[in-house]
């Protein structure tokens, strides 16, 4: 996958992050120089906290710019899902997030660490100049986020690899490969985040152990050396930290619910055009590309008693055999070295007269297509915590809905096949089903699905109806 251009507010984020990182580096250099000066020179003046303060305030626009970039990309996606903009914009909005995340997270992490370093050195220099306790070691827990930052880069690499590997493959395979990469990347990221959780915990325990040891060594002499303002400041920092933590936990709740709920298997959405009057069944076979024969109920009470389409063109029932013959000959002419598989996709309406369906199946067989795939369309509804379906009334509160096209594959045989093979099943192995056993297509379709679900091949006998 080439790096997608057009990250929303990408240039603004680049400018802000470079400026803030430069400021944080400058603040750290100044803090190091001052800290060294105070360390070696007795009676040095107490340092001001102005520069670390400015550097800390500069983190706010950096965080806002990074979050704004991702939020803008996600707005594009959600608007496309709500059909407020072109559906393909969803793809753009998603793919631009992939390279943006590592940059945003790394910029935040680097700037945060630089600021903590500068602040700590300045506080330590002030302590050396005027006495008192050493600055707290607590900020060291920020280092524990490093595995997650590495994990975000790994997440990006897996997703980019997935897109590259899927490029040029048919839509169904492409989407499945990309989704597999996305799931793998998500699991890897979760592993890195889990590692961060334990690193943060270990660093916190280490900081607490050092704290207790330092107090044991210094004894009660320093106990009251800090004034009330310092304590109030410490408690204020604790309160702010806990409040921000609560906001982050609550903010992640809906995304967490969405991330934890598995998605239904992907399928070839290109087949969603399938006629929705086909039986509402879940066939065990995937539909393979082949000529498509649609059979609809008659438009009126006058003949013909069904309407037939071949590859989206209306054909008269009597000419279906000829049209299919032409297709078969054309295939053989164009692919002289490829074995003709005799497959056809039969999309048959539940309402089509059964006798007409039998006639169509005979025509398909007689034209040299003995392997029809009976296609079905199943309506699926999936309730999601956050990513809901398009709601025409507005608000996007609907469940996700789609039609899933599946099939059962059978082999057609007639009396001539049986006579020629001198076998009741014309030499074809599998469960034998007689068309004459049924009165409706839906009943036939259910039987075929049951047999295929039981793992049996199905042979459909075209004998005359009773």
């Amino acid at each position: 996958m080439s790096e997608p251009r057009g990250i929303p507010y990408g240039r603004l984020f680049a400018a802000v992050s470079l400026t803030v990182l430069a400021l944080e580096i400058a603040a750290l250099i100044v803090a190091v120089v001052r800290w060294r000066r105070v360390r070696w020179q007795a009676g040095a003046p107490v340092l001001s906290l102005r520069l670390p303060g400015v550097a800390g305030a500069a983190l706010v626009p950096l965080i806002a710019a990074g979050a704004g970039t991702i939020h803008a990309a996600r707005n594009i996606v959600m608007d496309a899902f709500d059909l407020s903009r072109a559906p393909w914009d969803a793809g753009h909005g998603i793919t631009v997030q992939i390279p943006a995340f590592p940059l945003v997270v790394t910029a935040w992490f680097a700037a945060g660490l630089l600021w903590i370093g500068a602040l700590w050195l300045t506080l330590d220099a002030r302590r050396r100049a005027r006495g008192g306790e050493a600055p707290p070691l607590a900020p060291i827990v920020a280092l524990g986020l490093l595995p997650t930052v590495v994990g975000v880069w790994r997440w990006k690499a897996i997703l980019v690899g997935g897109f590259d590997a899927a490029a040029g493959r048919p839509p169904a395979e492409h989407n499945a490969a990309v989704l597999l990469a996305a799931d793998t990347a998500g699991h890897q990221l979760a592993t890195f985040a889990w590692s961060s959780t334990w690193t943060i915990t270990a660093l916190a325990i280490g900081a607490l152990a050092l704290l207790v040891r330092a107090h044991r060594r210094s004894g009660a002499a320093d106990a009251s050396s800090e004034g009330a303002p310092t304590r109030r400041r410490s408690i204020l920092i604790c309160a702010i930290a806990l409040a921000v933590a609560a906001i982050l936990f609550v903010g992640a709740r809906s995304m967490r619910a969405e991330n934890r709920l598995p998605w239904p298997p992907n399928h070839d959405s290109d087949l969603a055009w399938m006629d929705h009057t086909a039986p509402d069944l879940d066939g065990p076979d995937e539909i393979e590309r082949a000529p498509v024969v649609h059979v609809f109920p008659p438009a009126s009470n006058r003949p013909p008693m069904c309407e037939i389409w071949l590859d989206d063109h209306v054909v008269a029932p009597a000419s279906l055999v000829d049209k299919l013959w032409v297709l078969r000959d054309e295939f053989r002419r164009r692919h002289p070295d490829t074995k003709f598989d005799g497959a056809v996709v039969a999309v048959i309406s539940r309402e089509a007269p059964y006798a007409e369906i039998v006639s169509v199946l005979r025509a398909i067989h007689d034209a040299g297509f003995p392997h029809p795939q009976f296609a079905f369309t199943r309506r699926e509804t999936h309730a999601r915590p956050m990513l809901r379906g398009f709601d025409p009334a507005g608000g996007g509160s609907g469940a996700l809905k789609r039609r899933r096209a599946t099939a059962v594959r059978v082999t057609l045989v007639d009396d001539m096949d049986k006579e020629y093979a001198e076998d009741a099943q014309a030499g074809v192995r599998g469960a034998l089903v007689h068309l004459s056993e049924f009165d409706t297509y839906e009943a036939l379709a259910r039987k075929l699905v049951d047999l295929r679900r039981a793992g049996q091949a199905v042979v459909l006998d075209l004998e005359a109806l009773k």
Binding site: R74, V77, P87, A90, G93, I94, Q97, I98, F101, V105, P136, A138, P139, V141, A142, G144, L145, V152, W155, L159, N175, L179, A182, D183, G186, A193, S196, T197, I200, T201, L203, A204, L208, L211, V212, H215, A223, S224, S234, I235, I237, C238, A241, L242, V244, A245, L248, F249, M255, R256, E258, N259, W263, P264, N266, A272, M386, L387, L400, R402
Partner: protein, 46 residues
């Protein structure tokens, strides 16, 4: 007593900042991983 209070205050700071780091880690994980859910939603169909 004052020393114990002081240690308690510092320990509270460590625990608070660790909680903040854990929350940030939790948020980052689900914020980034949500892109995968968007991909699933995209391929599900509009």
């Amino acid at each position: 007593m004052k020393q114990a209070t002081r240690i308690g205050e510092k320990a509270l700071l460590v625990v608070s900042l660790a909680t903040l780091a854990l929350a940030a880690n939790h948020f980052l994980l689900h914020w980034v991983a949500f892109t995968g859910a968007l991909l699933h939603r995209w391929f599900f169909g509009v």
